[in-house]
């Protein structure tokens, strides 16, 4: 503990405080590690997958988990672990990319509405209110039917429905920030509106945004799995956890592992994200109540 600071004590920023609080939350840290593990596996899959994704060994058929195939094989003799790894790439990608789409639209919409205020704000938030009342699950299905079941559309469609809450949160924060002196000071020294939004407003609302991101990713992944399960999401030969679960259901009577392993992996990931999200909320905003 060599310190050059004569007082012997260093100030801690709000962020350092938050990280320290997060570090003490065991469940949240477990969630973080699990998530990091899943992401690393997903990124490295093409190099570390034990078997080929497509090669079928029909003579092998579905065999129960064993030393050579840890998660067993499916009815075409394809290694289930390999398929879960590849499916995870799609599921996680949908989660992250659709959330990114929601993030961009939501933050821009909310920041502009809150910053300009007045009648523009009223109109913009009215639009959000109306969209909020729409049953979006049904609209996504409609979009998938009308425009074909492409993965790109899935990203966009899910992203386009998940931005509403983000817009509301951001607008509320911006409205509160706008009253503060340092924003007035920024206006006085002649910064442009975009500079103020970009340099002063957005960095100050990062906390709630990060929390909401970690809670949006699992709901997006759930939505994708739901659609894929119904056959309206990811299409073969691509795969995702939802699709693997729906295949598993067809043969669960004879080969239950084909249902249980993809289901377990999906549930663990959702668990990890939810715990991390709760932990981040407690860490970044100690005032917020737990439920």
């Amino acid at each position: 503990m060599s310190s050059l600071d004569p007082s012997g004590e260093q100030g801690r920023s709000l962020w350092q405080d938050a990280i320290a609080r997060l570090g003490q939350n065991r469940l949240a840290m477990l969630g973080l590690y699990l998530l990091a593990f899943m992401v690393i596996i997903a990124l490295l899959t093409p190099w570390i997958a034990p078997y080929s994704y497509e090669t079928q060994q029909l003579d092998l058929g579905a065999i129960a988990p064993n030393a050579r195939h840890w998660f067993g094989t499916d009815t075409f003799g394809r290694d289930l672990l390999t398929r879960i790894m590849y499916g995870g790439r799609v599921s996680l990608a949908v989660g992250f990319i659709a959330t990114a789409v929601a993030l961009v639209i939501g933050v821009l919409w909310g920041a502009v509405a809150g910053y300009i205020g007045g009648r523009t704000d009223a109109v913009m938030m009215r639009i959000v209110d109306i969209l909020y009342a729409l049953p979006f699950m049904i609209f996504i299905i409609l979009l998938m039917v009308v425009f074909g079941r492409s993965i790109l559309l899935l990203f966009l469609a899910i992203g386009c429905v998940e931005w509403l809450t983000m817009a509301r949160i951001v607008r509320g924060q911006v409205l509160a920030l706008k009253q503060q002196e340092f924003i007035e000071a920024a206006v006085v020294i002649g910064l442009s509106h975009w500079q103020i939004i970009y340099r002063h407003i957005i960095p100050n609302i990062l906390g709630p945004i990060i929390v909401y991101i970690t809670l949006t990713i699992p709901s997006v992944m759930l939505l994708e799995a739901f659609l894929s399960f119904l056959g309206l999401g990811i299409q073969p030969p691509q795969s995702s956890w939802g699709l693997l679960i729906s295949y598993g259901v067809e043969t669960m009577e004879e080969y239950p592992w084909l249902l249980l392993f993809p289901g377990l992996v999906l549930s663990i990931t959702l668990f990890a994200l939810n715990f991390l999200g709760d932990g981040l909320r407690d860490a970044l905003d100690p005032k917020a109540s737990k439920d």
Partner: protein, 309 residues
């Protein structure tokens, strides 16, 4: 109160119009005409088909006709099954879906409120952690996973309950209702716990305790009404969720309800059927949101009434 109700009803009308128009335009934007997939038809037949489905009129007029049809309860004919109308299919499927949603809601409320109360009475003890951990599992385990696993355990391995069907054999409604209700039971448990904890910390509860009332009386007579407010506000979204959840549950358990019709229509690209059911589902969801807002406002006079700013 009346002003609030009228205001909320008036607010629902533009939302409905947006839903209908957006659905209508989206379906019209679908690549290819509705009869492209069929084998080549003669110009005469095509003309007749266009006439039957009212495709010759200008688009705004078609939309207007469609909306006035809906007001009269006519959602038009199905593209795929020309002899059946969309209204007819809704009428067959809806009672089944409602029955399923009703049982699921019953399961959710019974389990959810009980678990939430048990947890709130002794917070931060095992009596709190165990039900809340189970609730977290319920939230993270999607219905399309919960359903098949329940079927596997209780239907196939233990052979206690039928694995599919609706009203064909005794007990075949139990697994679908539990599958659909479990996620909402979990949310309701968390909401009940939160609401009860807040109410139990208030002064009038302390007064009641000081008077020496038994815990049971305090909980059920004094705390429950306030503590369940978050649950009431959640009912509207929950019913919306139950209806879309019925897509999966009806598919898994082969229940001939509206949800399964919808999924099948989406598969078959039965455009009028999709359009009709989409609009119908939207109407239901908007309606239930309205009801739950009104009940919440009625239970809590302090709630801000939107109409009065």
């Amino acid at each position: 109160m009346l002003r609030f109700i009228i205001y909320r009803i008036l607010q629902a009308i533009p939302v409905l119009l947006v839903v209908i128009s957006a659905t209508f335009i989206l379906i019209r934007m679908a690549p290819g005409g509705p009869f492209d997939a069929e084998k080549a038809v003669s110009p005469y037949v095509l003309e007749k088909l266009n006439e039957r489905y009212n495709l010759n009129a200008p688009l705004p007029e078609q939309l207007f006709d469609y909306i006035s049809g809906i007001i009269k309860g006519d959602f038009g004919p199905s593209f795929k099954f020309p002899t059946r109308s969309v209204t007819e299919m809704i009428a067959t499927g809806l009672p089944i879906t409602f029955e399923l949603a009703f049982y699921a809601m019953l399961v959710a409320l019974l389990i959810g409120i009980t678990a939430g109360l048990v947890a709130a009475i002794r917070p931060n003890t095992a009596q709190d952690y165990v039900p809340m951990s189970v609730a977290m599992i319920g939230i993270c385990m999607p219905s399309f996973l919960m359903g098949p696993i329940l079927v596997l355990i209780f239907g196939i391995w233990l052979e206690w309950l039928p694995v599919s069907g609706w009203g064909y054999s005794a007990g075949d409604k139990i697994l679908p209702a539990i599958t659909l209700g479990s996620t909402y039971a979990a949310y309701i448990a968390r909401l009940t716990r939160g609401g009860m904890l807040e109410v139990l910390s208030q002064d009038y509860i302390r007064t009641a305790r000081a008077k020496g009332l038994p815990t049971r009386t305090i909980i059920f007579k004094h705390a429950l009404k306030g503590g369940l407010l978050p649950v009431v506000s959640f009912l509207g979204p929950a019913i919306a969720g139950l209806l879309s959840g019925s897509f999966v549950v009806e598919t898994i358990f082969q229940i001939p309800g509206l949800g399964r019709f919808y999924v099948q229509a989406a598969f078959n690209r039965d455009y009028t059927m999709i359009m009709g059911t989409t609009i119908f589902f939207s109407m239901l969801i908007i309606f239930f949101n309205l009801i739950s807002d009104i009940i919440a406002a009625y239970l809590n006079p302090r709630i801000k009434l939107g109409g009065e700013g």
